[in-house]
């Protein structure tokens, strides 16, 4: 899942970019960016794109009652959190895809159970349509499915976003090996 390349090459900038031909014949590239957003975190604070200003962040999608891949993802995210706990240039955004059940209070308890700080790791909830739209903007899947364990299906991806809100990599958040690769790639962006 993660991009295959050597350490010396910069990480790719992913997404559909726009190219504009300038009068002097040069090409101006406008890179794909994660759009603006507004969600509530586990402390009832409104979190917008400004929280990530000049920071590298890792985003993912989950729901608190998810019995299958989420515990693995959260253990791996917690390991990233531990690695960058002292570095305020790195933050984590975990979006619930089950806003009906995942209230701010529920997310607060969830974050507490993981023993993490809301200054660094935001568990986000909000309007259902906004959450599903932002999942599309990160180019990952998230959907209700009554047949799935817990009632939802979603991507297990960790998405690496740079200081300009550009997508720099996708990693399988259920795998320790991919998490280690992501840890290394975060350092390359700092």
């Amino acid at each position: 899942m993660a991009a295959c390349q050597t350490e010396s090459e910069p990480l790719p900038i992913l997404g559909q970019h726009e190219f504009t031909l300038q009068e002097d014949g040069s090409v101006d590239t406008s890179y794909y960016q994660i759009p603006s957003f507004g969600f509530w975190n586990q402390d009832s604070a409104l979190i917008t794109e400004k929280v990530s200003e000049s920071k590298v962040y890792v985003a993912d999608f989950f729901f608190t009652s998810c019995p299958t891949i989420c515990p693995k993802m959260k253990r791996n995210m917690r390991s990233l959190y531990d690695s960058f706990e002292e570095n305020d240039q790195v933050i984590f955004l975990s979006h619930s895809i089950d806003p009906k059940r995942d209230s701010v209070d529920k997310l607060h308890s969830y974050a507490e159970s993981l023993e993490v700080s809301s200054k660094k790791w935001h568990f986000l909830t909000g309007e259902k349509s906004s959450l599903y739209n932002i999942a599309k903007a990160y180019m990952v899947s998230a959907a209700e499915d009554p047949k799935a364990p817990g009632g939802y299906i979603h991507d297990g991806a960790f998405i690496l976003i740079d200081q300009q809100r550009r997508i720099r990599g996708y990693y399988d958040g259920t795998l320790k090996e991919d998490t280690e690769l992501l840890k290394n790639d975060i350092k390359r962006l700092l």
């Binding site: 608190t64 009652s65 998810c66 019995p67 299958t68 515990p71 693995k72 959260k74 253990r75 917690r78 969830y110 507490e112 159970s113 993981l114 023993e115 364990p149 817990g150 259920t174 320790k176």
Partner: protein
């Protein structure tokens, strides 16, 4: 003749010993493959999110439920070593009785200091009676 008998005995012991090792390693490997991603490579758990297995009083007092929990998951709040845990656990339905037996014996030996192994018949019986 005596020498042949000795070699035969030695060979049997080697084969038996390698079978036992295989069984032990199989439990460890299955644990790492199916359980460690959540419960940790040392059975240490995570905060009050995922319960520990190592020295877990809950496991000691609910040993006969372990096979059903592994196979079918759990969706109830439980107390382990004085902490409450409510994160649901998904079952690992693809595991067969032999793999579950090996995993349980690994957990018993490594995390609960219980050296005697359960037999596959015990686990099959437990699995027939899951709630």
């Amino acid at each position: 003749m005596i020498l042949r008998g000795f070699y035969s005995l030695a060979l049997s012991l080697i084969v038996l010993s390698s079978c036992l090792n295989l069984k032990d390693n199989s439990g460890a490997a299955s644990y790492q493959q199916h359980c460690a991603a959540c419960h940790g490579v040392q059975g240490e758990g995570l905060g009050s999110y995922i319960p520990p297995l190592r020295d877990a009083d809950y496991l000691k007092s609910n040993q006969n439920d372990l096979s059903c929990i592994i196979k079918y998951g759990m969706n109830a709040e439980i107390e382990v070593n004085g902490k409450l845990y409510s994160q649901p656990m998904g079952g690992i339905t693809e595991l067969d009785e032999a793999e579950i037996t090996n995993i349980i014996n690994y957990i018993r030996k490594e995390y609960l200091a219980q050296s005697e192994n359960l037999r596959i018949e015990d686990i099959e019986e437990q699995l027939r009676n899951c709630d």
